[in-house]
């Protein structure tokens, strides 16, 4: 029984985390399935845009603490392949309900975020002593440093509006409507999608935060 449902709808690749009974906690198996899903998406020329969502209006509460506690000698650091960051094609994430810790990191690694009104994002588990490596790199590139420090040091949970103020979500939808809105957006993007867009996604991520002269020079280089 897979924990991740994937399905091609035309040119759009719909990915759903289907472990709602455990708050869509990202255990080792789910991390592997996510990595596989991104590889499949990247390798299939018919798929142009992906949409990631969590089942039953929960995005993900983050690490599977029960699984980690069963074997504390195992590293809680996830395989970076589970993040959507390295795909060259756009990934839209629909965030509903809790989106914590590793789940929040996963959402941040996508390109566009649509949040339902009831979304709650942050590093909520003040007990979990895990470095959020991807988030520490991405957050100050995406929002103000002050907001980044607020999120990660105080562990404060941001609601959908606060996320929008921090420019971490592109759009807020009614509760329960984020996935449908993300699909709508994805279908539109899939129609316009060309290879040039993949090129730009890579440039935007890899050049962000660099000193301006260095970024301008790198942007001129041909990239494969």
């Amino acid at each position: 029984m897979p924990l991740l449902n994937t399905k091609a709808e035309g040119n759009v690749f719909a990915v759903e985390i289907a472990r709602a009974d455990k708050g869509n906690a990202l255990n080792g198996e789910l991390q592997r399935e996510l990595a596989q899903a991104w590889r499949a998406f990247e390798g299939d020329d018919n798929l142009r845009v992906a949409v990631l969502a969590g089942a039953r209006n929960v995005f993900s509460i983050g690490h599977d603490v029960a699984e980690l506690a069963a074997d504390p000698s195992r590293s809680p650091l996830p395989d970076d392949a589970m993040f959507a960051l390295h795909t060259t094609k756009p990934v839209i994430v629909a965030v509903e309900g809790p989106c914590y810790g590793l789940g929040f990191e996963l959402a941040l690694s996508c390109d566009l975020r649509i949040a339902g009104e009831g979304a709650l994002c942050g590093f909520a588990d003040s007990n979990l002593f895990v470095p959020y490596r991807v988030a520490t790199v991405l957050l100050p590139r995406m929002t103000f440093v002050g907001k980044s420090l607020d999120l990660i040091m105080s562990g404060r949970v941001f609601n959908a509006r606060e996320m929008q103020e921090a420019r971490l979500v592109t759009e807020v939808a009614a509760t329960g409507a984020a996935a449908a809105r993300a699909m709508e957006l994805a279908r539109g993007m899939a129609q316009r999608f060309t290879n040039a867009q993949a090129f730009r996604k890579r440039n935007i991520w890899s050049l962000s935060g660099l000193p301006l002269p260095a970024a301008m020079n790198l942007a001129r280089l041909p990239r494969g």
Partner: protein, 272 residues
């Protein structure tokens, strides 16, 4: 130091568990950085940084009029006249040494523990710079922040990188070029402050946040701040690769945290 013991010190320091609260106590001069306040602040940053028992620092001003109005221009002017009377070289030397104040603003001398500014009133020039150098800013509704240097033909020396971090270019340039102070609400909109609270409540709010931070392992808080600052301005792939070195599962804090996490219940957790 000895004679300051008898009267109220210029920087009132209180310790509450892992929290150090420092109150700038020069309200008659809007807590401007003169009369020994700058030196007392410098000492306090180092005290906080180097004391492992302290986890979070809160900086605020005494009274409801000012957080800190920046450099004490009257005092600086007096000093400059005295030095200028000695020799032109003495004045030049003093200006040069004043330009280097590495610890004054907190965020540039490897201080990776959180510092929260509780902005209780006017927060101007060097005072604004100090607040921007903190990690979080809680501002009271009546307070205003600003960099009026431009209006006096002075440069806001160490502010540009902080403005860029906090507000990005568009609003950053507005703030330094106009020199106009912004209201608390506008400060939050621009990214200058994190949160507005009613008058008189900034320290209390900062304390609540600090207590929450104290519950987190210090190593965790320190790690993330350090990584944030070191990942800015380097290529993405390099920044990600730099993140690989932290083995949390080899620490006791991790094992303890797992146990506590199992028992904890997060807000919004779906009912089973």
């Amino acid at each position: 130091m000895s004679q300051a013991e008898t009267t109220a010190p210029i920087l009132i320091k209180e310790r509450e568990d892992g929290i150090l609260i420092a109150r700038m106590n020069r309200p008659e001069r809007m807590n401007a950085l003169g009369g020994g306040l700058r030196e007392a602040l410098e000492a306090a940053w180092f005290e906080f940084r180097d004391d492992d028992a302290l986890k979070v620092m809160i900086i605020t001003g005494v009274g409801d009029r000012a957080f800190c109005a920046g450099a004490d221009l009257r005092e600086n002017d007096k000093k400059a006249r005295e030095l200028g009377a000695q020799s032109a070289q003495a004045l030049l030397d003093a200006q040069r040494s004043a330009a280097i104040a590495p610890s004054f603003t907190g965020n540039n001398f490897h201080l990776y523990k959180p510092v929260i500014a509780a902005i209780n009133g006017w927060c101007l020039a060097g005072g604004c710079e100090m607040a921007m150098g903190c990690d979080m800013r809680i501002i009271e509704r009546h307070a205003k922040m600003g960099l009026p240097e431009v209006k006096r033909g002075m440069g806001a020396k160490a502010t540009t990188h902080k403005l860029h971090f906090l507000t990005y270019l568009a609003s950053g340039l507005e703030i330094v070029w106009t020199g106009d102070p912004v209201t608390a609400q506008r400060a939050v909109e621009l990214g200058l402050a994190n949160e507005v609270v009613p008058t008189g409540q900034s320290v209390e709010r900062a304390r609540a946040i600090a207590r929450d931070m104290c519950r987190r392992p210090l190593q965790y808080v320190r790690y993330h701040k350090e990584r944030f600052f070191q990942s800015i301005g380097v290529p993405l792939d390099y920044a990600l690769a730099m993140e690989q070195r932290f083995p949390p599962h080899e620490t006791e804090a991790y094992r303890e945290g797992l146990k506590a996490s199992l028992a904890a219940k997060l807000p919004g957790w779906p009912a089973n």
